[in-house]
């Protein structure tokens, strides 16, 4: 078991989203759109995950002229393992069950 974090409904949703394609970088706006979590809630969770070593971040090269480079995120290899364990544990809780049910349709 990795570093425990407080799994709020939003954290569960973000972890689930990041676990769908674990090796692929995701942008903040894309995560927000997929999970319907507002930026004011999303970023503090991302910041916490990064601080705990679950998440790695990088700046991509500017693809569009005149636009700043974008920040992107993906789970670290350890983070993936911990996230899976936490999600399994979270399924035992009420909101985890609900979230898991929603995630799997």
């Amino acid at each position: 078991m990795g570093l425990r974090i407080r799994l709020s409904r939003q954290t569960v949703e973000i972890l689930q989203m990041l676990l769908v394609r674990p090796g692929q970088w995701q942008h903040g706006y894309a995560i927000s759109k997929a999970t319907e979590i507002a930026s004011g809630t999303l970023y503090p969770i991302l910041m916490r995950l990064e601080k705990l070593g679950w998440l790695e971040t990088s700046w991509e090269d500017a693809r569009v002229q005149g636009r700043p480079p974008r920040h992107r995120y993906r789970l670290t290899p350890n983070g993936r393992g911990w996230a899976k364990e936490e999600l399994l544990a979270a399924r035992e809780t009420k909101f985890g069950k609900v979230a898991a049910r929603e995630a799997h349709g």
């Binding site: 942008h27 903040g28 706006y29 927000s32 507002a38 930026s39 004011g40 809630t41 999303l42 970023y43 503090p44 991302l46 910041m47 971040t57 636009r67 700043p68 480079p69 974008r70 920040h71």
Partner: protein, 555 residues
């Protein structure tokens, strides 16, 4: 929403996230930039707006975290900067320092703390003698005039040193509330200026002709005048003044009026109640503003009364010897009557009881002589017993006064505790402000003189604690004063509150005189002003220096 406004919203949202980045705490600025770069990707204006607002909440959390980390660092420590080798700065964190200072400030902000500060400040304000704060009185007078508040007008009229203002306000107050007529009598203070006092006495006589008190004030003036006239030749003795007065027919007429007046009412209770009420309504008033009016309440002249009472008894004895028994009895009744009326007044007001007893004693002894001279042995015996009872009551009164006087040394000790802890409080807060200010503006201060830097660090570490401890002692030391003030405001401790309160206040003022002599207040405030000015000059100089060095490379 049309295209222009959509574009405006979009631009505003993006601009806002960029602005946030510029003020974002350095350690998490990447995240601010991440939010800003994502905002550029959003094409829907409302979504962009929502994104930007979310960015604000993230920024606020980041700032909160940053502030918390900053507070946990020692005073003067900058982000990422290592402490100076060999000359570390303060060890206490900003949070600890701020908490200690806040606790002390919180204590002093309690109603009791504010009362203590006001009272002690008043004790330093008037170093020559107790005097009202004219500024406070001016404000009260202006408000009272605006609101047609007769009671406050009367209070100011009785407290101010400005005779013109007093006259105007007293007349207006009595016009609004005729039952306040007694303020004319109460205002006829010790007649330092006879012409002025004469006006007040004339108004008091016109408003309350049945009362002996205004005539007593006029009698007092006559005593003063006699002393002054005799003093032109040599320093007069009391019997000489007595002789001069008794031989003055004007004096006789006046004293006759006094002893025949059916009422004796000095209105000191009304005066006390008025001041109490105004203080209750204006708790911010300084004790030095509330007390003076009460302490200057016109007090009758004891000696003149005693002289005249003795004169009446002497005349009664002469009449008795001459066989004019009825006339002799009238004279004795006259002397006895005023004593009784004064004692009656004392029951209500707690003042002048001793004076009333003294007059009663004189007249009772006169009666004893009369009865013995007329062969009424039983009545003479009765009068003797009555005189003995009066003496006992007088002795009890003296004992009571001594008991009250014994309270004074305790308060004197408290006065020292309050004043010294108050000084320690000022030193503590100034030292804390100086230390924290210097280290925050100039973290490397004294790096070339490690010993001085260490001393300043110790001062910065311990001054807030000194401030807190001194504040606690200050509040504790002030408790007896607080109780006296509360008792006065509530009117719960019976008679003599004014004297107890003023005695307490004097015990505080005594300390200021002993510390700095008559100029203690001037000395104290001068020192404080110099220290604060130096501090401000130092801080401003340092800020100017930093500003110049920051702009130099750009130039």
């Amino acid at each position: 929403m049309n295209e222009t406004s959509q574009s405006l919203v979009l631009r505003w949202a993006r601009w806002q996230t960029r602005v946030l980045v510029s003020v974002w705490p350095e350690e998490s600025r990447d995240w601010g930039e991440a939010i800003a770069s994502e905002a550029e990707e959003i094409e829907q204006p409302l979504q962009a707006l929502s994104w930007a607002l979310g960015g604000v909440t993230v920024y606020l959390r980041a700032m909160g975290g940053h502030l918390w980390e900053w507070l946990k660092m020692p005073v003067g420590q900058r982000d990422g900067a290592a402490p100076l080798a060999g000359a570390p700065g303060p060890r206490r964190s900003r949070l600890f320092t701020a908490l200690v200072l806040a606790c002390a400030a919180g204590l002093l902000c309690l109603p009791e703390g504010r009362e203590a500060i006001r009272t002690v400040r008043a004790s330093w304000q008037d170093y020559a003698e107790i005097g009202p704060s004219q500024g406070e009185l001016e404000k009260l007078a202006a408000r009272a005039k605006k609101e047609n508040d007769a009671q406050t007008m009367a209070f100011v009229a009785l407290s101010t040193d400005d005779e013109k203002q007093a006259t105007e306000l007293a007349d207006r107050a009595v016009k609004l509330e005729p039952r306040l007529f007694w303020i004319y009598e109460a205002r006829s203070f010790w007649p330092t200026d006879s012409a002025v006092a004469k006006d007040w006495i004339a108004k008091a006589e016109a408003a309350d002709p049945q009362n002996a008190v205004p005539y007593l004030r006029a009698a007092r003036m006559m005593v003063e005048r006699t002393y002054a006239e005799l003093g032109k030749q040599h320093s007069p003795t009391e019997p000489e003044v007595n002789q001069a007065l008794v031989s003055n027919p004007e004096w006789g007429k006046l004293m006759d009026k006094i002893f025949r007046a059916p009422i004796y009412n000095s209105f000191s209770r009304e005066h006390e109640e008025l001041n109490r009420e105004v203080w209750r309504r204006n708790p911010q008033l300084l004790i030095g503003t509330v007390l003076p009016g009460l302490l200057r309440h016109a007090i009758p002249d004891v000696r003149a009364l005693e002289w005249y009472a003795k004169e009446l008894v002497k005349q009664a004895e002469q009449r008795r010897v001459a066989g004019q028994l009825e006339k002799a009895q009238d004279l004795l009744k006259e002397a006895q009557g005023l004593g009784e009326r004064m004692e009656e007044d004392a029951k209500r007001e707690g003042w002048f009881q001793g004076m009333g007893l003294s007059l009663e004693r004189e007249s009772t002894l006169g009666w004893k002589e009369f009865y013995e001279g007329t062969g009424q042995t039983a009545k003479a015996q009765e009068a003797r017993q009555r005189a003995a009872q009066i003496e006992e009551r007088g002795a009890a009164l003296v004992q009571d006064a001594e008991r009250r006087w014994r309270e004074r040394p305790r308060l004197e000790r408290n006065g020292w505790v309050v004043q010294l802890s108050g000084l320690a409080m000022i030193l503590g807060v100034l030292a804390a402000g100086l230390g924290v200010g210097l280290f925050e503006i100039w973290p490397a201060i004294g790096k070339r003189v490690p010993r001085a830097r260490r001393a300043l660090s110790l001062l910065t570490d311990f001054a807030p604690g000194l401030f807190l401890a001194a504040s606690a002692v200050f509040m504790w030391g002030f408790l007896p004063y607080e109780r006296l003030i509360a008792a006065f405001r509530e009117g719960s401790s019976g008679t003599g509150e004014v004297m107890r309160l003023s005695s307490a206040f004097w015990s505080l003022q005594d300390v200021t005189w002993r510390i700095g002599g008559a100029d203690a207040a001037v000395l104290g405030w001068t020192l404080l002003t110099v220290v604060l000015s130096l501090l401000v000059a130092l801080i401003m100089g340092r800020m100017a220096y930093r500003a110049m060095h920051r702009t130099a490379p750009q130039a």
